[in-house]
C-alpha cells in the first residue's frame, strides 16, 4: 500500500471554520477543544473548591453556621471528591493537555477524527450539567454517599440525595465515560498512526507517553465504572439486587435479597485504582518535560522513564483490592495485593530519582512552571511515602478511614497533579495565547499554594481522628484533644487562604490574555515540536503546507560545543551548531 513519502494527513482537507459558532463553540480544532475542556474543568473545579470550604468550615468551626447541616456536609464531601477526581483532574489532564499537546507534539495537523473529538467535549459538558442537576431546587440535593458511592447506603433512604441525587450522579458518570471514550480513542489512534516524519515512539516527549498510557488505562478501567453505574441504577430504579443484600432499613425490610455489596467495591476499585494513575501518568509526563526544559538538561534516563510509565500502567490493574483491606478478604489475597502495591513503588521511585538527577548540577531557571514542577516532586514524594504504610494490610487496618488516608491521597493524587496542571498552564499559556502570564502574580500564587497545601495536609497525618465525621462531639464530651482542635482551626483557615489564591491565578489568566507580555514563538527555548509552529498561537492545521520533520529526541539541551543550549527537534543533524 502507498506508504507515505508524504504522510496521508497532508492530503486530507481540513474542516475550515467559517462562523463564530464553528470556530469557537462547535469547533473541530483540537486546540479550541482543549481550551473548552480546560475552561469547563476549571469552572467545575471552583465549585469543588467552594464545597471544600463548606466542609472545612464545619470541621474547623462546628456549629458556627446553622445552614451547614449533616446533609449538606455529606453532599459536599461527595461532590468535592467526585468533581476533583473525574471532572477536574481527568478532564483537564487528558481532555485539555491531551487535546492540546498530542497533535502539536507529534507534528500532526489535528486529531485523527476531529468530529468525534468535538462531540467528546460536548458530551463532557453534558455530563457536568447532569452532575449539577442535583443542586436544582426540587431535586432534593445531590447524593451524600461519599465519592466511592458504596451500596447499600448509597441508594437507601436516609442517605442524602437517595431519590434523585444518586441517579444524576450515576447518569453523569456514564455520560462522562462516553465522552472520555470518544476522546481517548482519538488520542491513542493519533499517537499510534499519525506521527510526523522521523517521530518514532522513542522520540516522543514524555508528556505524550504519560497521556497515551493514561488513556489506555482509561479505556480499560472506565468500563468497570460504567457497568457498576448501570447496575446500581437498575438496583435503584427497577429494584434488582445486584449489590443489595437482604437488609432492614429503619426497621422496615427492604425488597432486596442476595446481592453482593462487595462486588461493587471490586468493580469500583478496579476502575478506581487505575484512575489514580490516569491522573498521575500525564502529570508524570508533563512534569518530566517541564523539569528538562527549565533545567536546560536532557531528562535523565529517558528510556527508563518510558518503561516506568508502561510498568506503572500495567501494575495498576492488579492492585485494586488494597483499597478494600477492611472489607475483609482472604489473608493470601491481602498478601498478594500488598505485594503488588509495594512493587509499584519501584518504577515510581525510578521516576523520582530521574527527576532529581535531571536537576542535579543543572543550569536551573527558576521560572514559575519550574517551581511548580519541583513542588510536584516534593509533594509527590511525601504523599507516596505514606502510601507505603497504607499498602501494608496490617498497618492499613488501623489507619483506614482516618485523616492519615485523607492526607495521603490529597498529597499524592490531589495536590501533586494539580501542581502539574498549574505548571503546565504557566508553561504552555504563551503558546496558547501568544502572551506570557504575569510572573509576580504567578509567584504569589505558587508560594501560597505550595506552602498552603503543605500546611493543610501535612498536619493531617498526625490528626488521629476518623474521616467523614460531621462532628466529633457527643453531648458534652468530645473525642478531640485541644491540640487537635487547634489543628483543625488552622487547617480550615489555611484552606480559605489557599482557595482565595486560586482566584489570583484566574485573574492572571484573564488579564494576561490581553495585557501579558508578548511571548514570541519559543519563550522557554524549548525543543519539542509545539514550539516550532510557524505561528504563535498555532493556526488551524498547525503547520502550514508541510508537516515538520523530526531529526532528534526532544531533550537536546546544553549539548557541548553548540552555540545555543537547545536544539529543537526539527533541526537536521548536519545543520546543528
Amino acid at each position: 500500500m502507498a506508504q507515505a513519502e508524504i504522510p496521508y494527513q497532508e492530503a486530507i482537507p481540513l474542516h475550515d471554520p467559517h462562523t463564530w459558532i464553528t470556530k469557537y463553540w462547535f469547533s473541530q480544532d483540537h486546540k479550541v477543544i482543549a481550551v473548552q475542556y480546560g475552561i469547563t474543568a476549571i469552572a467545575v473545579g471552583l465549585v469543588a473548591l467552594v464545597l471544600s470550604w463548606i466542609m472545612r468550615t464545619q470541621i474547623g468551626f462546628p456549629g458556627l453556621f446553622d445552614w451547614i447541616d449533616p446533609e449538606l456536609y455529606y453532599q459536599s464531601v461527595t461532590m468535592h471528591g467526585m468533581i476533583m477526581v473525574i471532572y477536574l483532574l481527568t478532564a483537564f489532564l487528558l481532555g485539555s493537555f491531551g487535546n492540546y499537546l498530542v497533535p502539536l507534539m507529534l507534528g500532526a495537523r489535528d486529531m485523527v477524527f476531529p468530529f468525534v473529538n468535538m462531540i467528546s467535549y460536548h458530551v463532557y459538558l453534558a455530563s457536568v450539567i447532569i452532575l449539577m442537576l442535583g443542586y436544582v431546587p426540587g431535586m432534593e440535593g445531590p447524593t451524600g454517599a461519599g465519592w466511592t458511592l458504596y451500596p447499600p447506603q448509597a441508594i437507601l433512604t436516609g442517605t442524602p440525595g437517595a431519590d434523585w441525587g444518586i441517579l444524576t450522579m450515576l447518569a453523569s458518570l456514564a455520560v462522562f465515560i462516553v465522552a472520555f471514550t470518544m476522546g481517548g480513542l482519538n488520542y491513542i489512534t493519533t499517537i499510534l498512526q499519525a506521527r510526523t516524519r522521523g517521530m518514532t515512539m522513542m522520540r516522543m516527549p514524555l508528556s505524550i507517553w504519560g497521556i497515551g498510557m493514561a488513556t489506555v488505562l482509561g479505556l480499560l478501567a472506565f468500563p468497570a465504572l460504567f457497568v457498576s453505574a448501570i447496575m446500581m441504577t437498575l438496583d435503584n430504579v427497577l429494584g434488582t439486587s445486584f449489590f443489595m443484600p437482604a437488609i432492614n432499613s429503619l426497621e422496615i425490610g427492604e425488597d432486596y435479597a442476595g446481592g453482593s455489596p462487595l462486588l461493587f467495591q471490586h468493580l469500583f476499585w478496579f476502575f478506581g485504582h487505575p484512575e489514580v494513575y490516569i491522573v498521575a501518568l500525564p502529570a508524570f509526563g508533563v512534569v518530566s518535560d517541564l523539569i528538562s526544559v527549565h533545567a536546560r538538561k536532557n531528562i535523565f534516563g529517558y528510556r527508563l522513564m518510558v518503561w516506568a510509565i508502561v510498568a506503572i500502567g500495567g501494575l495498576s490493574f492488579i492492585v485494586w483490592a488494597h483499597h478494600m483491606y477492611v472489607a475483609g478478604m482472604h489473608p493470601y489475597f491481602g498478601f498478594f495485593f500488598a505485594t503488588t502495591t509495594l512493587i509499584i513503588a519501584v518504577p515510581t521511585a525510578i521516576k523520582v530519582y530521574n527527576w532529581t538527577l535531571t536537576l542535579w548540577r543543572a543550569n536551573i531557571r527558576f521560572t514559575v512552571p519550574m517551581l511548580f514542577a519541583i513542588a510536584f516532586v516534593i509533594t509527590f514524594v511525601v504523599g507516596g511515602l505514606t502510601g507505603l504504610f497504607l499498602g501494608n494490610v496490617i498497618v492499613d487496618v488501623p489507619l483506614s478511614d482516618t485523616y492519615f488516608v485523607v492526607a495521603h491521597f490529597h498529597m499524592v493524587m490531589g495536590v501533586a497533579p494539580i501542581l502539574v496542571i498549574f505548571g503546565g498552564i504557566y508553561h504552555w499559556y504563551p503558546k496558547i495565547t501568544g502572551r506570557m502570564l504575569n510572573d509576580t502574580i504567578g509567584l504569589w500564587h505558587f508560594w501560597i499554594t505550595f506552602i498552603g497545601t503543605y500546611a493543610i495536609y501535612f498536619p493531617m497525618h498526625f490528626l488521629a481522628i476518623p474521616r467523614r465525621y460531621y462532628q466529633y462531639d457527643i453531648g458534652e464530651s468530645t473525642i478531640l484533644t485541644p491540640s487537635m482542635e487547634i489543628l483543625n482551626v488552622s487547617i480550615t483557615l489555611t484552606a480559605y487562604v489557599v482557595g482565595i489564591a486560586q482566584f489570583l491565578f484566574i485573574y492572571n489568566l484573564i488579564v494576561s490574555y490581553r495585557k501579558g507580555r508578548e511571548a514570541g514563538d519559543n519563550p522557554w527555548e524549548a525543543n519539542s515540536l509545539e514550539w516550532c509552529t510557524p505561528q504563535t498561537p498555532p493556526v488551524h492545521g498547525n503547520w502550514g503546507e508541510r508537516l515538520p520533520t523530526v531529526h532528534r529526541w526532544a531533550y537536546d539541551y546544553s549539548v557541548p560545543g553548540q552555540e545555543r543550549d537547545f536544539i529543537p527537534q526539527d533541526v537536521p543533524r548536519e545543520a546543528q551548531a
Binding site: 480513542l185 489512534t189 498512526q193 506521527r195 518514532t200 522520540r203 468500563p223 427497577l238 429494584g239 442476595g258
Partner: protein, 225 residues
C-alpha cells in the same frame, strides 16, 4: 537514540514487530485510522462485556436462592414436547450466519464489487434485525411467564436481573450494528467511499463480528451453564 532513517534491511519474525514499533509515522503499517480506532474501541468494549459476565457469575454465587435451570426456562414446546434451548439455538445460528454474510461483504468490498458488497451488508443487517426480533419474542415470553428484573417464579431474583441486563445490552449492540450497517451500505452505494479501498466495509465488519463473538460467550455462560 534510534536513527529514524534506518537502513531498509529485511527483517523477519518477531523482529518485524520491533521494527514497526520503532518506526516513525505509523505503528501499524497500512492500517487506516478508522480501522485502528475500531480495534481499540472493541478492546474497551470487551472489558465492558467481560465485567458484565464477571458480575453475573459473582451474583450467581452470592445469591442465597437456587439458580433456575436454564434448559427448562429457555425451552419451547414443539408438537407437545419441550425442546430445551430451541429458540436460542436458532438465534445463535442466525447470528453466526450473519457473520458469514458479513465476511462475504468484506471480500466483495476489497474486490471493488460495490453492488454485491452492499447487498451482503443489507443481508447481514437483515439477519441482525431477525435476531433482535427473536430476542423480543424471547423477552415477551419470559415476561408473560412472570420473569421480572426483581423476581421470577423459579428461584434467585438475580436470574431475571442478569438476563435482562446482559441480553438487553447485547441487543442494543446488535441494534446499533444494524443501524450502522444500513448507514454505511447506503453511503457506499451513494459513492462516498469510491476513492478508498473500501476498508470501511471491513471496519463495519469488525464491529459486527465482535457483537457475534460476544453472543457466543453470553450463550456459553448464561444459557449453557
Amino acid at each position: 537514540m534510534a536513527q529514524a532513517a534506518q537502513a531498509e534491511t529485511e527483517v523477519t519474525g518477531l523482529a518485524t514487530i520491533a521494527k514497526d514499533w520503532s518506526s516513525d509515522v505509523t505503528t501499524f503499517k497500512g492500517v487506516p485510522w478508522g480501522k485502528a480506532m475500531m480495534w481499540i474501541f472493541l478492546l474497551s468494549d470487551t472489558f465492558i462485556f467481560s465485567i458484565f459476565l464477571t458480575a453475573y457469575m459473582t451474583v450467581r454465587t452470592t445469591t442465597a436462592e437456587a439458580w433456575p435451570n436454564a434448559s427448562e426456562v429457555f425451552s419451547l414446546t414443539m408438537f407437545g414436547v419441550p425442546v430445551p434451548l430451541l429458540l436460542i439455538a436458532i438465534m445463535t445460528f442466525d447470528l453466526i450466519t450473519s457473520s458469514g454474510t458479513m465476511a462475504l461483504a468484506v471480500n466483495y468490498g476489497y474486490r471493488r464489487d460495490k453492488r454485491r458488497a452492499v447487498r451482503f451488508m443489507y443481508l447481514t443487517a437483515f439477519f441482525g434485525a431477525v435476531f433482535v426480533g427473536m430476542q423480543a419474542f424471547e423477552w415477551t415470553k419470559l415476561i408473560s411467564e412472570g420473569v421480572r428484573p426483581f423476581e421470577n417464579p423459579w428461584g434467585a431474583p438475580q436470574f431475571g436481573s442478569c438476563f435482562f441486563m446482559i441480553t438487553g445490552f447485547h441487543g442494543l449492540h446488535v441494534s446499533a450494528g444494524v443501524a450502522y450497517l444500513i448507514i454505511i451500505a447506503r453511503r457506499i452505494s451513494k459513492g462516498r467511499y469510491d476513492n478508498t479501498n473500501f476498508e470501511i466495509v471491513e471496519i463495519t465488519g469488525l464491529y459486527w463480528h465482535f457483537v457475534d463473538l460476544v453472543w457466543v460467550f453470553i450463550f456459553a455462560f448464561f444459557y449453557l451453564w
